[in-house]
């Protein structure tokens, strides 16, 4: 077993355990903290796939940004309500059956699909290549993304504005 294989199994175990905790823990606040752990583990998967730039983006945007927003939303919606929302799962058996069926379907497809086993030699400096791709073939998409972010910002401001 190479070092990369060991790293993969450790990261995979961390990711799966924290993901399960996200959906199973009764306390929603704890679920967000486990989500942060799962997002960092996903970033570690990106590191294993030799994409350090994506790892940084994942930490900044997801583990930093998304988790903070969700924590704020939980505090805003739980503190005011007085009685806590029931966090118990509804129909956990039905959910488990559907999720297991989807997983079985994907894996059944993966077993049949012809998949290349070995990775090609990694690009030396992926960050520079990503930057060139962003302003080269993906330039229009990048601009559209900027428009989308402005629209999302305005939408969020509109929904969350105070009444007076």
């Amino acid at each position: 077993m190479t070092l990369e294989t060991v790293g993969f199994w450790v990261v995979a175990a961390l990711l799966l355990v924290s993901s399960l905790a996200v959906v199973l823990t009764p306390n929603l606040f704890h679920a967000v903290l486990y989500l942060a752990a799962a997002l960092v583990a996903t970033g570690a998967v990106f590191l294993l796939l030799e994409q350090p730039f994506l790892f940084a983006v994942q930490l900044l945007l997801y583990a930093g940004g998304v988790v903070t927003i969700v924590v704020f939303a939980i505090m805003l919606t739980e503190r005011l309500v007085g009685e806590r929302v029931g966090q118990a799962s509804r129909h956990p058996l039905n959910g488990a059956i559907v999720a297991a069926a989807v997983f079985a379907g994907i894996v059944g497809f993966l077993i049949q699909a012809p998949i290349r086993a070995t990775a090609p030699a990694p690009v030396v400096d992926t960050t520079a290549s990503i930057g060139r791709a962003l302003v080269g073939p993906f330039a229009v998409t990048l601009e559209l993304l900027g428009v989308l972010l402005v629209a999302a910002l305005l939408g969020a401001l509109y929904f969350a504005r105070s009444e007076e």
Binding site: S19, L20, Y62, V81, V85, R90, F103, L145, L153
Partner: protein, 100 residues
Amino acid sequence: MSGLQAYLVLAALVFAIGLFGVLTRRNAVGILLGIELMLNAVNINLVAFARFNGDLGGVVFTLFTISITVAEVAVGLAIVIAIFRVRRTVEADRLDLLRG
């Protein structure tokens, strides 16, 4: 199990776990957390395919999906807070009116 397949199976597992969360959570914020997990699984797939096919397009696409997800979370949570102001609950089963 080859390298790429291991990553794809891992992503499928995370996706299934996220789907379970979306289906079983009562709280709207909890449902959003499940959607986050599912989007993460998709990102793992994209990056794994990009790495094992030597194509940078998957990585750039992951950057875009991450940015779009952040925008989606911001708007989604703003909607949750707006609904909470009107209905005093974020329990998905009780949010069944189009009219406030």
